[in-house]
């Protein structure tokens, strides 16, 4: 199985930095919009 055979490790680079930026942006958006989205979902659920 390829996953188990693969023992190589990568080196952190621009990709690692990009992944961290994505995490921060997504988490920030979730914190900012999460409550509003929850309110909308609850409104829709209440009307159904």
């Amino acid at each position: 199985m390829r996953f188990l055979r693969d023992t190589h490790a990568i080196e952190a680079s621009e990709v690692a930095l990009l992944m961290a930026v994505i995490v921060v942006v997504v988490y920030g958006a979730y914190k900012l919009l999460g409550e509003n989205i929850n309110t909308i979902v609850m409104d829709v659920a209440g009307k159904i």
């Binding site: 199985m1 390829r2 996953f3 188990l4 055979r5 693969d6 023992t7 190589h8 490790a9 990568i10 080196e11 952190a12 680079s13 621009e14 990709v15 690692a16 930095l17 990009l18 992944m19 961290a20 930026v21 995490v23 921060v24 988490y27």
Partner: protein, 168 residues
């Protein structure tokens, strides 16, 4: 994760980092044995569905790409639909680690280490801590014009950061 496991876990992380620094590889003797232990631990803790998903992802890694993607997505969806919210979140973090390996962003050793840690600790926030530690490491590497910092260092640093914030 029991507090008693902190010391062996730290030793395991150090061993993985040392192997990576020396050879740019982490031997299966380190990762597979830990993966087996973590899978047993998570099954005992009630996460058999999540462990099942991980085993499915491992089993399909030789299947052609399109079928592999569909099967992996189905395994993840099964976890979300039939598992609890906690298991759904954990399976999402494990699936994300698998996707990063599948895309070649992460090496097999890194993905196995992350899988072990997520199964053992059981909190998807660990993945965020590792990704942020990796980003910080990448930033420092770029500023110092060093392109050769192993990602296992970020995995270990992120894990220690998470454990210090949540357990100790």
């Amino acid at each position: 994760m029991p507090a008693l496991a902190f010391l062996p876990l730290s030793l395991w992380l150090v061993a993985c980092v040392v192997c990576d620094l020396k050879t740019r590889q982490v031997p299966n003797a380190l990762t597979l044995s830990a993966l087996l232990l973590a899978a047993v631990w998570r099954t005992i803790a009630g996460g058999w569905l999540v462990v099942g998903m991980v085993l499915a992802l491992i089993a399909i890694s030789d299947v052609p790409r399109t079928a592999r993607t569909l099967l992996a997505g189905a395994a993840w969806m099964a976890c979300i639909l039939f598992g609890s919210l906690e298991h759904g979140n954990l399976s999402t973090a494990l699936f994300a680690a698998w996707v990063l390996w599948e895309l070649g962003v992460m090496g097999g050793a890194d993905a196995k280490m992350l899988t072990v840690l997520l199964l053992l600790i059981g909190d998807p926030l660990l993945l965020l801590a590792v990704l942020l530690a990796g980003g910080l490491q990448g930033l420092v590497g770029l500023l110092r014009k060093e392109q050769t910092v192993p990602y296992t260092v970020a995995i270990a640093a992120g894990t220690v950061w998470y454990l210090m914030a949540h357990i100790l």
